[in-house]
């Protein structure tokens, strides 16, 4: 039983650290395209670790293996790239300025004009 608690606590702490790192990235990075990196990568991984902890915790309570959390993991892993893609397309559409020392800024116009 102690081993299960240890595994659950470890997964919870890993997930919380990833969520905190993603939120710090969202708060501190300088422009919008950089700010997109923090939440869409780190919070997905953090939520995956926390839901894994939930699976471990509820599977060893005597009610059989808990598979419901896999539905949330599947949904989040499916929708996080779609959300990031829509956000970046909207940022290109409203002509958000990247940081001044970003490389290859002249290609932004051709990406913006490209039809799906």
């Amino acid at each position: 039983m102690l081993l299960i608690e240890l595994a659950t606590g470890f997964c919870l702490m890993v997930g919380a650290i990833f969520l905190l790192v993603g939120s710090i990235g969202l708060f501190r990075l300088p422009d919008f395209y950089m700010r997109l990196h923090g939440p869409t990568k780190a919070t997905t991984l953090g939520l995956g670790a926390i839901l894994t902890a939930s699976i471990i915790f509820f599977s060893f309570r005597g009610d059989g293996i808990s598979t419901k959390e896999i539905l949330i993991i599947w949904f989040i892993f499916l929708t996080a790239p779609i959300t990031a893609h829509m956000l970046s397309k909207a940022a290109l559409h409203v002509r958000q300025k990247p940081r001044a020392d970003t490389l290859n800024q002249d290609r932004l116009a051709s990406i913006r004009e490209r039809r799906q």
């Binding site: 608690e5 309570r61 949330i72 956000l87």
Partner: protein, 89 residues
């Protein structure tokens, strides 16, 4: 031991929710506020799952699923509004 860990992890996620709220308030454009709101949805899912572990009840799972679906739909709808000027064409 697991109760202490769950409380500490809830405090850390509350801190990240405060950081998201800060970005939500100072965000210079509407898109910054939108991405802050989307991250707040994800943090709320994590918080409600941890509440389920803390109380030892598997009933909080439905709430987490509903929050996940509503977060995706609302973020996509606002993105569509910014891109096209309309949600349902």
């Amino acid at each position: 031991m697991l109760d202490t860990i769950a409380l500490a992890v809830s405090a850390v996620i509350g801190l990240s929710l405060l950081l998201n709220l800060g970005r939500f308030m100072i965000g210079p454009h509407m898109l910054d506020r939108l991405i802050a709101l989307d991250t707040m949805y994800i943090n709320a899912i994590a918080l409600i799952v941890i509440l389920g572990i803390f109380r030892g009840s598997p009933l909080y799972y439905e709430g987490a699923l509903v929050i996940a679906m509503l977060g995706f739909v609302s973020t996509t709808a606002v993105c569509k509004f910014i891109l096209r000027g309309d949600i349902i064409e």
